[in-house]
C-alpha cells in the first residue's frame, strides 16, 4: 500500500497569532485526500484555522550526522538578553546617585 500512497506531513495553525505547528504524518494518494484525512486524524478537537500538507519527500532535512553540529556553543551570551543582566543594577545606581544629589535642593526648596 505504501508503494502507492504517499506520506504527507501535516501542519496546522491554531489561530492567527500562532505559527504553523507540525502535527503528524499520514498516508494519502493525493494532497486533497491528505487534507481531509488531516482533519479526521489530528484535528477532531483542537482549534484550527488552517492546514498544510506536504509530501514528505519534498522536505529537505538535516541528516542525522549533521544534527550534532546544530548544537549551540555555550559562548553566545552576547546574542542573548541574559548576556546583559548587569544593566538593571547599573541603571539603579545612576538613579540613586542622581536622587541623592537632588535631596539638598529639595530641602532648600522646602525651606524657602
Amino acid at each position: 500500500m505504501n508503494e502507492n500512497f504517499d506520506i504527507y506531513e501535516v501542519f496546522s495553525q491554531k489561530n492567527q497569532s500562532s505559527s504553523f505547528a507540525h502535527q503528524f504524518s499520514l498516508l494519502a494518494p493525493n494532497a486533497e485526500i491528505a487534507l481531509v484525512m488531516a482533519r479526521e486524524n489530528f484535528l477532531r478537537r483542537d482549534q484550527c484555522i488552517n492546514i498544510w500538507v506536504v509530501k514528505r519527500d519534498q522536505i529537505h532535512m538535516t541528516s542525522p550526522e549533521e544534527r550534532g553540529n546544530l548544537e549551540r556553543l555555550d559562548n553566545k551570551s552576547y546574542r542573548e538578553t541574559k548576556g546583559y543582566g548587569d544593566l538593571q543594577a547599573r541603571w539603579r545606581k545612576h538613579k540613586e546617585a542622581y536622587e541623592s544629589k537632588q535631596q539638598p535642593n529639595v530641602r532648600e526648596a522646602g525651606e524657602r
Binding site: M1, N2, E3, N4, F5, I7, F24, S25, L26, L27, A28, P29, N30, E32, I33, E40, N41, F42, R44, R45, S63, P64
Partner: protein, 333 residues
Amino acid sequence: MQAEMNQSGLTQTISAETINDQQSDKMEAFLSRIDRGERIEADDWMPDDYRQQLIKLITMHGISEIMGALPEKEWVPKAPTLRRKLAIMAKVQDEMGHGQLLLRVAEDLMAPLGKSREDIMQDLFTGRLKFHNVFHMEAPTWADAGVIGWLVDGAAIITQTMSLDSSYAPYGRALQRICAEEKFHAQHGESIVLELAEGTDAQRQMLQEAITRWWPSLLMFFGPPENGGITSNQQLNMRYKIRTQTNEELRQAFLTKYVPRIFHLGFTLPDETIHFDEESKMWVYQQPNWEEFKQIVKGNGPRSAHRLNLREMSYEETKWVRDAILAYGRKVG
C-alpha cells in the same frame, strides 16, 4: 561479510572484524545516547534488535487500538441516549485515529526492511500479529461499555504514561496525542459507570456482573508477573529505555488507583483474598489463569475469530475504495 577495496594498485581487504568494529562503535555511541536520556529518531542509526522490539511493540499497540474499537462499536447503535451515542461514536473514532498514528510510526520503522502497512494487516489476519487480550472478550451489556472505558482505558493510560518517556521519540510524540484523548475516554467510562452505580438495583447488578466478568482480563492486561525473573525481552526493552517499568509495577499502580474506587461504589471483586499488604507495600491478589491468557492472545478467546473476521471483511470490502482513490490520486497527482 567481506568487502574489497582497490586503492592505488593495492588490494586492501576490509575484514569482517573491521566492519564489526565499526558496528560496535555505532552501538557504543547509540547506547551512550540512550544513557544520556537522548531520544532516537526514525532516521538515526539504531541496532537491529532495537528496531525489531519497537516494531513488535508499536504494531501490536496500533492494531490493538483498531481491534479495541470493535467491542465498543457494537454499542453505538444500542447506546441508551443520544449524548451517549455521540460520545461512544467519538471514542470509537478516536481509537481508529490512534491506530492510524501508531501504524505510521511502525511503518517508518519497517520501511528500511521493505515492509509496509499491507504487511501489518496480513500479519494480523494470519494471526502472526497479536493484539491485547482485552479485545478478544465479549461486551454483552451497556455496563461492559462503561467498564471498558473506565478500567480498560484506565489500564491503558497507566502503560502509555510510562511509554511517554520512551527512548524512541516518534512513539513518545504519538503517545502525547493519544494520552490526552484517553483521558476523555476514561472519563466517558466513569460517567457511564457512575450513572449505573447510582441507578436502580438492576443497573447496579448489571455493573457488578461486568466488573466480575472483566476482572481477570484486567489483571492479564499488563502481562504475566516477573516473579523476580525478568525475561530477556523485558530486559532488552529496559536497557534500551523503550519501557521503564515491569508488568508487575504497572499492575500494582493500576490496583492502587482502581481497587479502592470499586469498593467505594460498593462493588466486589471476584477475589476475596485481594488486599494491600502494608509491610511490602504491595497488593496481594489471586493470579488469573496465565495459561488461558496465552490461549486468548493466540487468537482463541471468546470473540477472537469473530472480530478478526469482521476486520478482514471490512478490509476486503473497502479495497475498491482504496483502489479508486489511488487511481484518482495518480490522475490528479
